[in-house]
């Protein structure tokens, strides 16, 4: 009974899968300080590898094509920073100046609302206590966000140095490294290993390219929308919407928060503005779902929506914003590895059983 259980393809798959997961988790713990630059570099590798292939097709060596890709990356980065940074910092200053007014306006609205409820329903809600608790909570979140933001600025300078270096070496050497690693597999699982790797790599590349294009399109659409509505920081709001779009399902909801708060901050409050701010995100989502997703991201990951939502919440709880962004590619990768292993192990098991019976 115990022997049968050990030899069963499901238990064998679970054992091998757990070993792979353990090794990956161990690497993630060891490389924890470098995990973010490594993830960004892999995302850039997925984007830049086709460009490097084009250069190679035109006769450039691997070294020369990798160097050209690095130069393009640095040049595009420098142009983006020099063009966008002044606008972004100006809009950030505007937003910073707006926030106390918005805060004051929302506080007044909240107090008016609780007074209205108390008088109309003749209830003693101890509204001041509730409001105080709410504001204290929001205040602590705000402070935490500010500290995280300043930490991110420090990390940003490290990222600017590390990411181009990592990306260059990935473009130049990843194929050799991958070949050496996969050639270490035993003869019996050599082809299966390559097949699983290829499926994972193909799906991840499709997903990363798709989600980046999708986020850029979302950023453009929402920026235009907020500009037409007369928001004072349209580009910043568009950028936030684009970045938050990296998180499926939950991201668009989070993207609505900032423009809604800004719309509420207008004195006197114009509710049509709140509705219009939400509409911009909804219209962008509609365009995204009808045009962008079928064209660039369809079938990139084949996961049930419930798995996606639960995964985002769990990963977000464990690893914060980065966890929410990487949740889908990680779950999708694990899914392919598990089913690839199961398929291979089950085939071998069935053949052994057949040989044993005959």
């Amino acid at each position: 009974m115990f022997q049968t259980l050990i030899k069963h393809p499901l238990s064998r798959t679970l054992f091998v899968f757990s070993m792979i997961c353990s090794v990956l988790i161990l690497f993630a713990i060891l490389l924890a300080p470098l995990l973010i630059p490594i993830i960004i570099s892999f995302a850039l590798y997925a984007l830049l590898e086709p460009i490097s292939e084009i250069f190679e097709r035109h006769g450039l060596s691997r070294n020369a094509s990798s160097l050209s890709v690095l130069l393009i990356l640095v040049a595009v980065g420098a142009v983006c920073v020099s063009l966008l940074l002044p606008h972004l910092s100006a809009q950030l200053s505007t937003l910073q100046a707006q926030l106390p007014v918005v805060w004051q306006s929302i506080t007044t609205m909240g107090n008016d609302f609780s007074r209205h409820i108390t008088t109309s329903l003749s209830l003693d809600m101890q509204s001041s206590g509730i409001t105080q608790h709410f504001f204290n909570q929001v205040d602590s979140w705000g402070k935490a966000a500010l500290i995280e933001g300043s930490n991110m600025l420090i990390s940003l300078s490290v990222l600017l140095v590390l990411v181009p270096i990592f990306t260059f070496f990935l473009v130049r050497d990843f194929r050799t490294f991958r070949n050496n690693l996969l050639d270490k597999l035993p003869n019996s699982s050599f082809e299966m290993g390559w097949l699983i790797y290829y499926r994972v790599a193909h799906q991840l590349q499709e997903y990363i390219r798709g989600i980046m294009i999708q986020s850029a399109i979302m950023c453009v659409i929402t920026t235009i929308g907020f500009y037409i509505l007369g928001f004072e920081s349209p580009f910043l709001l568009g950028l936030v919407a684009g970045v938050l779009n990296l998180i499926p399902y939950v991201g668009p909801l989070l993207a609505m928060v900032l423009p809604m708060l800004l719309a509420l901050g207008h004195t006197p409050v114009e509710f049509w503005m709140v509705g219009a701010a939400v509409s911009v995100i909804l219209v962008a989502q509609l365009i995204d779902n009808v045009i962008v997703i079928p064209a660039v991201i369809a079938n990139a990951v084949n996961l049930h929506p419930l798995v996606v939502i639960v995964g985002i919440i769990v990963f977000g709880n464990l690893f914060g914003f980065i966890g929410m962004v990487v949740a889908i590619p990680v779950i999708s990768t694990m899914n392919i590895i598990y089913y690839g292993l199961y398929q291979g192990i089950k085939t071998r098991y069935n053949l052994n059983q057949k040989n044993h019976n005959s």
């Binding site: 086709p50 292939e53 190679e56 097709r57 070949n179 050639d183 003869n187 019996s188 050599f190 082809e191 299966m192 390559w194 097949l195 790797y197 290829y198 398929q343 291979g344 085939t347 071998r348 069935n350 053949l351």
Partner: protein, 163 residues
């Protein structure tokens, strides 16, 4: 200085010899018809050499297949339902169907002596097609010709058996 050092020279020579030899072997097959030697050589550098002991299984019928295999040295027996279908020697290739479709293998391949096999993976073929679409298309045409010839041969055998 380093390139003249005997140790380095021998190391490179060994690798070069193997690449050249495998390139020539592939060029002798119909798969690389009308494809330049240089392109074939670049492709050979991405292929995967593996060593098998006598009696070791290369693949089973029903296994997931992902590559075509060239015999560099040694010999391979192809069997289906314990019936010997073919005995292949150095320079022969097998498993070409797996290069085209993602389906299980249809026969067993067993090393009948210590062998060195060169695996050309479907994923490497796809990368090559992206890099060199013209040569990739020619390769696909060649493989289609090989498969069509084998189908025709099987049809003739079947009709002879029936008559």
């Amino acid at each position: 200085m380093s390139s003249q050092h005997p140790l380095w020279q021998n190391l490179f020579k060994h690798k070069e010899d193997r690449t050249s030899q495998v390139t020539e072997m592939w060029m002798d097959t119909p798969l690389f018809d009308k494809i330049t030697r240089r392109e074939c050589r670049d492709l050979v550098k991405t292929m995967h050499p593996r060593h098998y002991k006598k009696g070791e299984l290369v693949f089973n019928s029903g296994d997931i297949g992902a590559s075509i295999v060239l015999i560099r040295s040694g010999g391979i027996e192809i069997k289906a339902a314990d019936k010997l279908l073919a005995e292949l020697v150095a320079g022969d290739f097998f498993g070409e169907v797996a290069l085209i479709i993602d389906e299980p293998r249809t026969a067993d391949a067993i090393a009948c002596e210590d062998s060195e096999l060169i695996f050309f993976l479907r994923s490497d073929l796809k990368e090559w097609i992206k890099r060199s679409p013209k040569s990739g298309a020619q390769f696909m045409l060649n493989i289609a010709t090989v498969l069509a010839a084998r189908l025709r041969h099987t049809n003739i055998l079947l009709s002879m058996q029936n008559s």
